[in-house]
Amino acid sequence: MFSNNPVLSRELLVNLRSTRAFVMQGLYASFLAALVYFSWPGGDPEWGGAVRQVSPGVARLLFNLFFLGQFFLVALVAPTFAAGAITGEKERKTYEMLLASPLKPLTILVGKLLSSLSFLVILIVSSLPLMILCFLLGGILLSEIVRAYLILILAAGTFGLLSLACSSFFRRTSSALVVSYLVILPIALLCVAVTRNDDSMTRDFVSIAVLPPWCLAIWTLVVVVVNRRLLRPPDVGSEGNEVIDEAEEMKSAIGVVIDRDLFPDKLFAPAKRTDLMPDGTNPVLDKELRSEIFSQGTLMLRVVIQVSMFISIFLMAVLLFWRPDWAGYYVAYVITFNLLVGPVFSAGSITQERERKTLGLLLTTLLRPGTIIRAKLLAALRVSTVLTFLLTEQLLLAYVLVPNLQTRFWTLPVYLLIIATTCLATTTTGLMCSALSRKTSVAIVTTYLVLFALFVGPVGLKLYMRDFVESVSESKLSAMTISSPYAAALSIVIPPDKSSMVGTYAAANTPPVRFPGGFAIPVWGMFLMFYPLLSGVFYIIAYVAFRYRWWRAGGTS
């Protein structure tokens, strides 16, 4: 199963022999090395320029940074490879050939898992020497390093297997990917919360006695389910061309049912037409909203709505009712949801026409490139915004019920604006990447990378610089983060109770950005001004790319 696994050897051959894998690994190792280099304690003049021997504080900070950074890396990268492992076979139409071979389902599963995790494991292992370097500074126990890597490997395995399970249930990589992220999100948050616990006893207990058995349980469950699905696949036979009957699917649906005729479902899924389109309709927009949205069934959307609602209930209790001053973190969750789900609706908008071989039909009509691109943007934006705003009803509820949110009622529209702007940003980024890529899977991963660089990167950089670079003012640090909706949401200060309203602004984590003229604009203000511009730029890039790459130059072959 392991030593002579054809699935594994084929994938390893294709994935790891590419220059891209080599370059990525090199970049990753250099990036980590740069982090260590710049935070390395400087030479002390009193000791003749020699490095102070023990710098436990720095070592601890670096260790935490490495662990947390790599944990997020695992949570992000494991699904990108694993969620496409089986759907990729379906999309390439090699799935039936693979299943019809004498390979055991378990062999296929193990091969897919190991191959999709191989690159990730190489990245994690290549960070080990640098971690050991930090160990030499003192302040960290060897057992902590072992424990950290154990958790990373366990997380990689668990996230990889969960994504594989999603991959076996869906027909498209994009659906599998977004559901994987949503399933992994709560687990990852829980893991981080537990392992960051200050009490080292609880930490050790949880990471040694609780996590491994739970992971093993999840592994076994997933393996059994996927194994059965691969052995008797219910989704082969018609090359994935079967017609999905919405009414039929509704009957077997568990939990939420989507009904095109009801509010709020009809906001993102208007009813099917019974007659011809009126004159002046944008046919592409009409097609996207009425036909394409459920063409792969409603399973993906139902899972997305249910999981996000489920998580939001817990978060609402803690972040809005128990600690209303943490309301920004609830908004951060809504932003994360949009970050994960938004790209799925836009990043495939052009590449999918190509993959489905309908682009040639569409391009030889009289539709202008602007009409097509605008329709794609509006359709994706509408679905993504409606789904995201389903999560804001909790926010509205809290502003009605919680007294110290009521006193700062003006923050509600700001939060909503931040969320709406985020929806615009994720959609235009996805559209741009779709116009620039040849494959949907590439477009989606590129979109995620761009969005993480814009949303999360600045916050990480700010935290790093605050710890290790002394001469930067807080205002400059704030200015760095204006591209991050997280920073924007958290820059709004809600007092913990009514009496302490004065002075909270000064103590805020994120001070406003100061300009030479003496005036200052809060980070959220900068964010709200910055993104419409950036989204406009992305939209123009998407238009130009589509016009000259596809519409006019016609690289459709």
Partner: protein
């Protein structure tokens, strides 16, 4: 109607189509023949405004393919060789979508969709989902799509590939009907017998080069400098028939095998008739007398032989 001038397309080092020129008159049905990978689809995609040429130009109904693609799109109906359909759409919705995309106002659309569905025998599938249709039905649906804006020129890339014999015959009948409607049709295929019956002219392409183009008769004349007559006669008259044939000024050479004579002949149809009269007048028991026509397959084999071997 279609005029291609020195079209060349290179992909890096590889030349897909090399210096291709041909023209198709109005109402003609032009068969584009060549083996897989010969450059048929590249040429067709170029004509359908989906591909920029490395060099060269083409005009359809007077509009430049390179300079004015929108005008060209208005006058062509294009059916790619390998196309997909949208999921979750019904047959009428699919046609409505393309009719709107071709800017046909709603008052005409209903009638056009009904007519097109009727013409392609899809009326009973009106309410079916397009992704549930069989391959032959999808092929017909795509042809229906190319007709919604009633273009004078149809560009069809392998319209019958992958179809079963019955669907193939039906497709052939459809194309014949479209020819009857006066459309100029460019149709490609790698299966020669598909095209033989209804093409008025053909172009043979291999490895990106156009080897021959023109009407089938023209090409036959290019290939053979003379016509071939086959005469089958009764037992006793072989020698006499041979003598009569060799006497005729139009006959170049005569071969006899068993009771069948094969003669190389130069002349018009009238000369052939006179020759037959002479044979009968001299008492030859003619059992059959015919010109040996050359099939499209043979044309193709003859033309491509030089390069393949």
């Amino acid at each position: 109607m279609i005029e291609v001038s020195r079209f060349t397309k290179r992909y890096g080092e590889f030349t897909a189509v090399d210096d291709l020129s041909f023209s198709i008159g109005p109402g003609e049905v032009f068969g584009f023949i060549g083996p897989n990978g010969a450059g048929k689809s590249t040429t067709i995609r170029f004509l359908a405004t989906l591909l920029r040429p490395t060099s060269g130009e083409a005009w359809i109904a007077g509009h430049s393919v390179v300079g004015d693609p929108m005008a060209v799109r208005k006058v062509i109906g294009f059916m790619p060789d390998d196309f997909g359909v949208y999921d979750g759409m019904k047959v009428w919705e699919f046609l409505d979508f393309f009719a709107v995309a071709y800017e046909i106002p709603v008052k005409h659309r209903r009638k056009i969709i009904d007519e097109v569905l009727e013409l392609l025998d899809l009326a009973h599938k009106r309410e079916d989902y397009v992704n549930g249709l069989s391959k032959g039905m999808k092929q017909r649906l795509c042809l229906a799509k190319t007709l919604v804006h009633d273009p004078p020129v149809l560009i069809l890339d392998e319209p019958a590939s992958g179809l079963d014999p019955r669907a193939r015959l039906e497709m052939k009948a459809l194309l014949n009907e479209l020819r009857g409607m006066g459309k100029t049709i460019l149709v490609s295929s790698h299966i020669l017998s598909e095209l033989a019956d209804f093409c008025t002219s053909i172009g043979v392409i291999e490895r990106g080069k156009l080897l021959a183009a023109g009407t089938i008769q023209e090409i036959q004349r290019q290939l053979r400098s003379h016509r071939v007559l086959k005469v089958k006669v009764g037992d006793a008259s072989t020698a006499r028939a041979r003598a009569v044939l060799e006497d005729d000024p139009g006959i170049r050479s005569v071969d006899a095998f068993d009771h069948t004579l094969t003669a190389e002949f130069e002349g018009q149809d009238e000369d052939m008739g006179r020759l037959l009269v002479r044979l009968i007048d001299s008492g030859v028991a003619v059992q059959s007398f015919a010109e040996e026509t050359i099939s499209l397959e043979e044309v193709f084999m003859l033309i491509t032989k030089g390069i393949v071997n």
